[in-house]
Amino acid sequence: MDSLLPFLEVLIPVLAAPVAGILSDKSSNRFTALSTVVTFIVVVGMYPSVSQGFVLQYVLDTGLQIKLVFMADSLSLIAGIVSIGVWMLVSFYSVEYMSHENHQGRYNVFSLLSLAGMLGVVVTRNLFTLYIFFEMLSMASYVMVVHEQTDEAFNAGVKYIFMGIVGGLILLTSMVYTTSITGTSDLLELAAKRGVLASHPHVYLILLGYVIGFGVKAGIFPVHIWLPDAHPVAPAPASALLSGVMIKAGAYGIIRVIYTIVGFENIQHHWPAFIIISIAFINIFLGSAMAIKQTEIKRMLAYSSISQIGYVILGIALFTPNGVLGGVVHIFNHAIIKGTLFLCAGAFIHQLGLRQLTDLKGIGRRMPLTTICFSMGALSMVGLPPFNGFISKWYLALGSLEVSKTGSYGMGVGILGLVVLLTSSFMNLMYYGPIVYRAWFVEADGGINKELAGESTADPNLWMMAPLLILGFGTLFFGIFPQFPVHLARQFSQMCF
């Protein structure tokens, strides 16, 4: 079905970006928030048709050899809606949070460009267009990473941009190779021709290129090393976007590669499948293990993201309908949860200057609303019902059970998957549990910034609090009413199998 909406969703932030750069700091922040609202409306406007199984598309013939094609199917929409939703809330949060920072205009311009890149990645139908937006995302988000302009930020930024661009160029190689083998770069045509690609002798090399290219952005082992440095050094709203939303561009790419371009049936019973699922397990354990060791809130959350992206990859690599469903739903859920947690971390920094985990003792009394949101996010991350993290893990567990019925290798993978899901929940509990416990039940011991110490509550003002509450209660809402993401994800997984 032809529709202008998939194109508009990218165009609006691109056009808004220069305007945000010209305006004064205060109006620039508000203008940015406003333009994300408009984009949000556009994206939501696609839901009615897409949920009925239509694929919206818009072809932009610019005279290049390959046309720019925008497409919204159920996977695009679920990733798009959660990206723009979180982005919109974070933009409102930033209006207050960023008002004390330098270079607010620059931050807004590159936030909008990153948004365009992110939405562009999930809304394109050919590799050519996908690559444009993928690189746009890498480059624009670099400016958000180094926003503070400290030495630490520069060091993290250099790692980020070099790994991002080198990964991008590797990705480009795979994309071009795919195009020249199959003669098309259109995702739908590629899906029809995946046998052609799969019978090419270099198909695993191509797959490797894709996995490295998208994996750098997604933060999968072993190309995750930029992530724990880059995510925490950015300002808190940017961390929320980097960790909650932008790593999903990589996960989205990996889903497309496995289910559309190469075809899961062509790798299911071969060694690449084993490699990918091992990566998922390593990510889950490595991220959690490193998170337990951290003393800084944001750094811990960044490692937690590495662990959580492992769940998404696990879901993808189970190659069963419920596994894919769980992976896709976790893209949605993790964005909300990690958004909540980073925004809470930002509120702690903004209000009381707290950056260390030990500072959070007794914070529940000083900032009750923020701590409630943080607790919900933390519990959801552990995977407890009725929060939304439970929903994803439930489907991942179902997927593991499904795969265990498919022969001896499947049996091993399935059982291992279940064991990993359980143990990693315990590991999550090991680092999220104490924080929540100390926040509510331990007396403050003076770790809180002395000048700000006092009895009055220190929750942030409405600009920051409202997005926080919406996201925080979002974890609860989508835990009790998971129909929306599950419906779209099921639609996608039915398309794949």
């Binding site: 290049l64 520069f154 941009i161 195009t179």
Partner: protein, 494 residues
């Protein structure tokens, strides 16, 4: 008639500049700009006509062995259009850049004379005409290289002369041999038919001589050393001649040899395309690595140019149409991107007095527009979207993958990674790092844009930077023109 005007008008302009240059600045500026502008519009008119089936030729001298003839083919107008357009911008830029320089008359006279040389080369319909203007270009650029009249400039000038005249001699020798064995030296679509029956030795000798001759101008390693040294020339010269006209003429020479002398089929049958592609790959990697080691902006850009020229060679000597198209498009795209980088470098050097890459910290605060344009085009040179360099790179890679030679795409990618290494640090420093005291020497630092170059320099910078982005996402003129070029050269409709 149109061709005659295109070729003679710059000569008239040169003579007028020489006679009235010292008397009236205004009249001289008019004499500089008018030939470039008129030539551009005539070339644009020819481009329109030729792509719609028009035929234009001009015979100046016609003796049996010595003929000066011109013909407007799709390829000629394709090359001429980018050159004349960028020449106008460079003239405008020069007005600002040369404001306080010495020997302006000589500068503008030579700059304008070079239009004739470049137009003569691209419109030449036989090798002897080609050779005459090829040498004219070499000679007329020399006064511009030594413009500063310093020791360094003279040394660079001597190197320039020796290298390029050697190349010219090789081309002349090749032309004579070609005339001896085939009795013709006209460019023929699909190649000179008599060559097909020649012995392998003759063909190989011809190929070596042509490669040597054009390799000097196209900066193939090991014939490239003149180019970084020639960067002592004023920046507009580095921009239009050493990033566009002179070096592109080297690539153009390769195109003529491959498609109009040997013919693509014979060329492949002899396996020459592999040799050129391998030479170009070596050049790409070598130049990229050398670029990493440079300390001065302009020398770094020179190595980047050497690197990018070999991209074009890889593209044009491919046997797949997509790769060829990528190579031809890269001639346009590289010209636009590299000229922006040189314009920016010139603005930075004249305004801030700093020519070193490691002292760029904090520069973006003083010159935000210049640095933004510099960044945009650097992104394009690395080969990242949405700036035009990536489009041609995509095409070249696609073709090579399709013909089963994945090594060359990997070279292109590797080169992009290395180039990231030399473009990223100065740009990051300029935007995000603090200024090191004493690195800049601005004349004034008051208003926000007070440290930007004057508008005559800023305007060309902004125009080409915008074009670089436009061509990256919108096919437009280059894509429209490149198809008739390929059809004319190979006879295949693409």
């Amino acid at each position: 008639m149109e061709l005659l005007i295109i070729i003679l008008l710059p000569i008239v302009g040169t003579i007028l500049i020489c006679t009235i240059g010292k008397k009236s600045k205004l009249l001289r500026n008019a004499c500089v700009l008018v030939p470039a502008v008129v030539d551009f519009f005539l070339v644009a008119y020819l481009a329109w006509q030729v792509t719609h089936g028009g035929h234009y030729s001009l015979n100046l001298v016609d003796l049996s062995f010595f003929a000066i003839k011109f013909e407007a083919t799709a390829l000629s107008v394709y090359m001429a259009l980018s050159m004349t357009f960028l020449w106008i911008l460079t003239d405008v830029y020069s007005l600002g850049y040369m404001e306080h320089e010495h020997a302006q008359t000589r500068y503008y006279a030579c700059l304008t004379l070079n239009i004739t040389a470049a137009m003569g080369i691209v419109f030449a319909s036989n090798l002897i005409t080609f050779f005459i203007f090829f040498e004219l270009l070499t000679v007329a650029v020399y006064p511009l290289v030594i413009h500063e009249e310093t020791e360094e400039a003279y040394r660079a000038g001597i190197m320039y002369g020796v290298y390029l005249l050697t190349g010219g001699a090789a081309v002349l020798l090749a032309t004579v041999i070609l005339y001896n064995v085939t009795g013709t030296m006209y460019f023929v679509p699909g190649g000179i038919p008599e060559l097909a029956s020649q012995s392998k030795t003759t063909l190989t000798v011809l190929f070596i001589l042509f490669t040597l001759g054009f390799g000097f101008k196209a900066g193939l390693v090991p014939f490239h050393s003149w180019l970084p040294n020639a960067m002592v020339a004023p920046t507009p010269i580095s921009a239009v001649l050493h990033a566009v006209a002179v070096v592109n003429v080297g690539v153009f020479g390769f195109i003529r040899v491959i498609y109009n002398v040997f013919g693509a089929e014979l060329y492949q049958k002899m396996g020459f395309h592999h040799i050129v592609a391998i030479l170009a790959s070596v050049t790409i990697i070598y130049a990229a690595v050398m670029g990493l080691r440079q300390k001065e902006i302009k020398r770094m850009l020179a190595f980047s140019t050497i690197n990018q020229l070999s991209f074009m060679l890889i593209g044009i000597s491919s046997i797949s149409m997509v790769s060829r198209m990528g190579g031809f498009l890269h001639i346009y795209f590289h010209a636009i991107m590299k000229i922006t980088l040189f314009y920016c470098a010139g603005a930075i050097i004249t305004q801030s007095g700093n020519k070193y890459l490691d002292k760029m910290g904090g520069l973006a605060k003083h010159m935000p527009i210049t640095m933004t344009c510099f960044t945009i085009t650097a992104i394009g040179i690395i080969g990242l979207p949405p700036v035009c360099g990536w489009v041609s790179k995509w095409y070249m890679m696609e073709g090579y993958f399709a013909q089963g030679e994945p090594i060359f795409p990997l070279v292109l990618i590797l080169s992009g990674i290395i180039e990231l290494g030399f473009f990223a640090p100065p740009i990051m420093a300029a935007f995000f790092k603090e200024e090191v005291p004493g690195s800049f020497n601005f004349k004034q630092d008051t208003s926000k844009l007070g440290n930007e170059a004057p508008w005559t320099m800023l305007l060309p910078i902004v125009v080409v930077a915008i074009l670089a982005v436009v061509f990256g996402v919108w096919g437009s003129v280059p894509h429209y023109l490149v198809k008739p070029v390929l059809a004319g050269l190979t006879g295949q409709v693409f």
